[in-house]
């Protein structure tokens, strides 16, 4: 028996690698359900989803190499300060309609209008975009030899005039709301058709799909674990100006204690982004249990929690109940939150933000200012944002770090947002798909993923 096993091993090793790859098959991925097929890369789930149906102008490999599936040639001419992009011949969108230089020109202009640092930097660099035949000329205001690196943003994708045309590796075939979405291989994909025929995107927790995100160090037997390159920050926000500092600190202390009581499931967070990349670490001194109790015993707190943190519900509700304080937890859907904000006097809210490690710290700070200051967004916040923008273009890392530190201290000291915890995510990929890898931004690369032939 044992001898038989030894004989089978080399045989199996030779059979695994067929010379010609097999075309066909389907893979299952669990993601959040998208709102539509219109590009929106606000979170990691969307970043993956839209990378499947929209093709990037350029890709950045982990080793720093830049490549494109759409352009056969790209050359920067210093004398004319122009980047020439030459399209590959005979490209088409998923419905067979021609993919032309005009599509590239329009897509680039749409990207430059987005509220992103990479987009605004490009906007300030580009003078003019010309499209002719199979060529696009990007004329720059100043000599910028590294212009190509600005075009590797994951949000810079090839868009069609028609909403039903897609440039990506796959295109949507069937969508059963709240259940699944089926994507089919794009036969005209510029980089060459994928080995897989279909991708099934599921939204439910179970059964376990082939690719999904979860806490690190699980599923070791059947899945390979990758650093997804993303983390989730949890903040406690105080949306009304009349909340006393003691109450804020007491609630903050209570939530820190909750993490302790549940076995430190989250990492402590001492800044707005990540402790590793932040120039400042802000320690908010917690209170003793007695002092916390004395402050909160007479409080009547409604703690709103975004539905994206619904995994906390069971443990947190039980913890608060056992503490005997009058704290009510209300989970609210992310999409309804802004509307609810205007109609109700929300005081306390627990929010989360998912960030990619690779995104620059200044971009994350900017996002927090814009998306998490809520009704406290004012002229001062706007000024901080524009100062950050200015410093970004000064190309001085020192000034940039100073500005990030100043903003972080100001926001936390003002007492409207307290950083609580950080949670890292791993991307799990079933061992049945051995060739699957992920890119610089943590997106699974599915083009050359094939079914195991045996």
């Amino acid at each position: 028996m044992a001898k038989g096993k030894w004989l089978l091993l080399p045989l199996a090793l030779t059979l695994i690698f067929a010379i010609k790859p097999y075309y066909g098959g389907e893979i299952n991925i669990r993601l959040n359900e998208p709102a539509s097929f219109n590009l929106n890369t606000a979170n990691y789930s969307n970043l993956i989803f839209y990378s499947l149906i929209y093709e990037n102008f350029f890709y950045l490999k982990k080793d720093g190499e830049i490549f494109s599936n759409v352009f056969q040639e790209y050359r920067y001419i210093a004398a004319s300060k122009t980047l020439n992009l030459i399209l590959k011949d005979n490209l088409s969108f998923s419905d067979g309609k021609p993919l032309t230089s005009k599509n590239i020109q329009v897509s680039l202009k749409i990207f430059m209008g987005l509220d992103l640092f990479a987009a605004s930097k490009l906007n300030k660099t580009v003078k003019n975009i010309r499209a002719s035949d199979n060529q696009v000329g990007i004329e720059l205001l100043a000599d910028t030899p590294d212009i190509l690196s600005l075009l590797t943003a994951p949000e810079l994708v090839v868009l069609a005039e028609n909403e039903q045309s897609f440039s990506g590796l796959f295109y949507p075939q069937e969508w059963e709301k709240n259940h699944h979405l089926m994507l089919k291989a794009n036969p005209f994909y510029a980089g060459g058709r994928s080995y897989l025929d279909k991708i099934r995107i599921t939204f439910a927790e179970n059964p376990l799909p082939d690719i999904f995100l979860s806490n690190p160090n699980q599923f070791k037997d059947n899945f390979r674990e990758f650093d997804s390159g993303i983390y989730q920050n949890i903040y406690l926000c105080f949306l009304q100006g009349d909340i006393g500092q003691n109450t804020k600190i007491a609630l903050f202390t209570l939530l820190k204690r909750f993490n302790e009581a549940t076995g430190f499931k989250y990492r402590e967070l001492h800044t707005l982004t990540a402790d590793e990349e932040s120039p400042v670490s802000i320690r908010i001194k917690t209170l003793s249990p007695q002092k916390t109790a004395s402050i909160l015993k007479s409080s009547d707190i409604k703690l709103y929690i975004l539905a994206s943190l619904s995994n906390l519900e069971k443990d947190l509700t039980a913890f608060l109940k056992s503490s005997n304080f009058k704290i009510e937890t209300l989970f609210i859907d992310d999409s309804q939150f802004m509307a609810f904000l205007n109609s109700a006097a929300i005081q306390y809210v627990l929010i989360d933000k998912i960030f990619q490690k690779k995104v620059p710290a200044e971009e994350k700070i900017s996002r927090i200012l814009k998306e998490s200051s809520f009704n406290q967004f004012n002229a001062r916040t706007l000024r901080m944002l524009s100062e950050l923008d200015e410093v970004k273009f000064s190309n001085s890392q020192e000034l940039l770090m100073e500005q990030i530190a100043r903003i972080s201290e100001a926001i936390i000291n003002d007492g409207f947002i307290f950083p609580l915890f950080q949670k890292n995510y791993s991307l799990y990929i079933s061992k049945e798909w051995p060739a699957l890898e992920i890119d610089y931004y943590g997106r699974p690369l599915l083009q050359k993923t094939g079914k195991n032939n045996d």
Binding site: L13, I19, K20, P187
Partner: protein, 448 residues
């Protein structure tokens, strides 16, 4: 037109003697010398082995090697015409196609015998004309244990006698096929088919010199691919040389002819021609259709009358299995068999009537080519140590005769000619080096 001359560096490869099997070779050499001597004053003697039995410790594989070595030696004799009638070896006996015995002058009966420490080969010569045994001879050699193991091993590479790598050089990547034709001046022209051009080389001794190139313009729909596949076919017709070029990224294959000093597209056909053959005395193009953008053929074979290159009416089709690789063995213009590797990497053989023979249980690497109706080359089902298997298909069977190790992944195999030697071209992708490189090899029999 000014010729652009560009030389490709060719590496002529020397294949050393297979060592470790000297005693077996000596046994064969003695037998062959005896037969040479026996037939030396006779001319155009038609001879074949019609029986081969094994009473030794050697395996069927070893018997096959010994048989092949003997036949290869005899093939070198100028006055002997050897017919290779072997169909298969199994259970210590050779299975021979005896339907052609009537054409022969002498029949050979071989027997391997184990005699204590020595291995013997018994040789009996039977004259059909005299209807009697005319010679009996016994040879023996001490075959060491190691040599026996070597003979018993599944390795058919007797380079001096069988197929060996005669040529190797580097090419630009994505080469899909190579075809050649002898020009009016007797010079061989080699057509290298790339996705965007066909480059034509002339052979100058052991070098290829670029003669000209034909740019290929494809039009929508074009299906971008990860792996380029294509077939080129050269057809000398009454109206001059015609070529067809089909692939897996365009649904239409090009038919081009040389007119007014340049190659012009004269029509498009919606399948990929693989071979030219005669059916009911009419010329036909035969081929398949790739799944667009993928690396396999659909489940139909198309036959198109081809008496007039500009006419594409009268196409008919036959259903087969979707195929990773597909080729047709053709003898004297007639279809002999259809060889294919299916999507599960199993080899199938269909007769000219499209009846399937029993599929091989062994998996293969999805590249194959037939050389006339005589030889079939198939790549191996492994990535780490690829190899090429050569089969003798002359008698309608599929008998392995040689293997050749390949460093890299075989991308395509096609039948061809180099320096008057018939054999197989292979395109090999070598990924281990830095940079990766695409290598072209020619495998042929040195003795022709």
């Amino acid at each position: 037109m000014k010729k652009v001359i560009c030389s490709l560096l060719l590496l002529f490869l020397y294949c050393g003697n297979a060592f470790g099997q000297q005693s077996a070779e000596a046994l064969i050499a003695e037998s062959a010398a005896f037969l040479d001597e026996f037939f030396k004053n006779r001319f155009d003697i038609r001879v074949a082995v019609i029986r081969f039995e094994n009473d030794s410790e050697l395996s069927d594989t070893a018997m096959q090697k010994i048989y092949q070595m003997l036949v290869s030696r005899l093939e070198n004799g100028k006055n002997i015409l050897v017919s290779d009638l072997l169909v298969n070896f199994a259970d210590g006996r050779g299975e021979f196609n005896l339907s052609r015995v009537d054409d022969l002058h002498y029949l050979l009966d071989l027997k391997l015998i184990q005699n204590k420490s020595k291995t013997g080969l018994g040789l009996t010569i039977f004259s059909r004309l005299q209807d009697k045994i005319v010679a009996v001879k016994y040879f023996e050699e001490a075959l060491s244990k190691g040599e026996m193991e070597l003979l018993n091993a599944r390795n058919f590479a007797f380079s001096e006698l069988g197929f060996s790598k005669l040529l190797e050089f580097e090419s630009k990547k994505n080469l899909m096929d190579i075809q050649s034709i002898t020009g009016d001046d007797g010079q061989e022209q080699y057509f290298f088919y790339y996705p965007d051009e066909i480059v034509v080389y002339l052979a100058r001794e052991m070098r290829l010199e670029k003669s000209f190139q034909i740019k290929l313009e494809w039009t929508r729909p074009v299906y971008p691919v990860l792996h380029y596949e294509g077939k080129l076919l050269l057809l000398p017709t009454g109206q001059g040389l015609v070529l067809t070029a089909g692939n897996n990224f365009s649904p239409a294959a090009k038919v081009m002819a040389f007119h007014d000093g340049q190659w012009q597209e004269i029509q498009k056909i919606d399948f990929v021609p693989c071979k030219y053959l005669i059916l009911n005395q009419n010329p036909y193009l035969v081929g398949g259709r790739y799944e667009e953008g993928r690396n396999y053929f659909k489940d139909k074979i198309y036959f198109m009358p081809f008496s007039d290159p500009a006419n594409r009416s009268g196409i008919y089709e036959k259903k087969i299995t979707p195929a990773m690789a597909l080729d047709f063995s053709i003898r004297e213009g007639q279809l002999q068999g259809v060889h294919l590797i299916d999507r599960s990497y199993n080899y199938h053989l269909f007769t000219s009537e499209f009846e399937e023979k029993i599929p091989s249980p062994e998996k293969r690497g999805a590249s194959l080519a037939a050389l006339g109706g005589e030889w079939l080359a198939v790549s191996d089902y492994s990535r780490t140590s690829d190899q090429l298997f050569f089969y003798d298909i002359q008698n309608g069977g599929q008998r392995p005769v040689y293997t050749g190790k390949i460093s890299g992944e075989i991308q395509f195999v096609s039948a061809g000619v180099w320096q008057k030697i018939r054999g197989f071209w292979t395109g090999v992708w070598q990924k281990r080096g830095d940079p990766e490189r695409f290598v072209v090899q020619f495998w042929g029999k040195r003795n022709g």
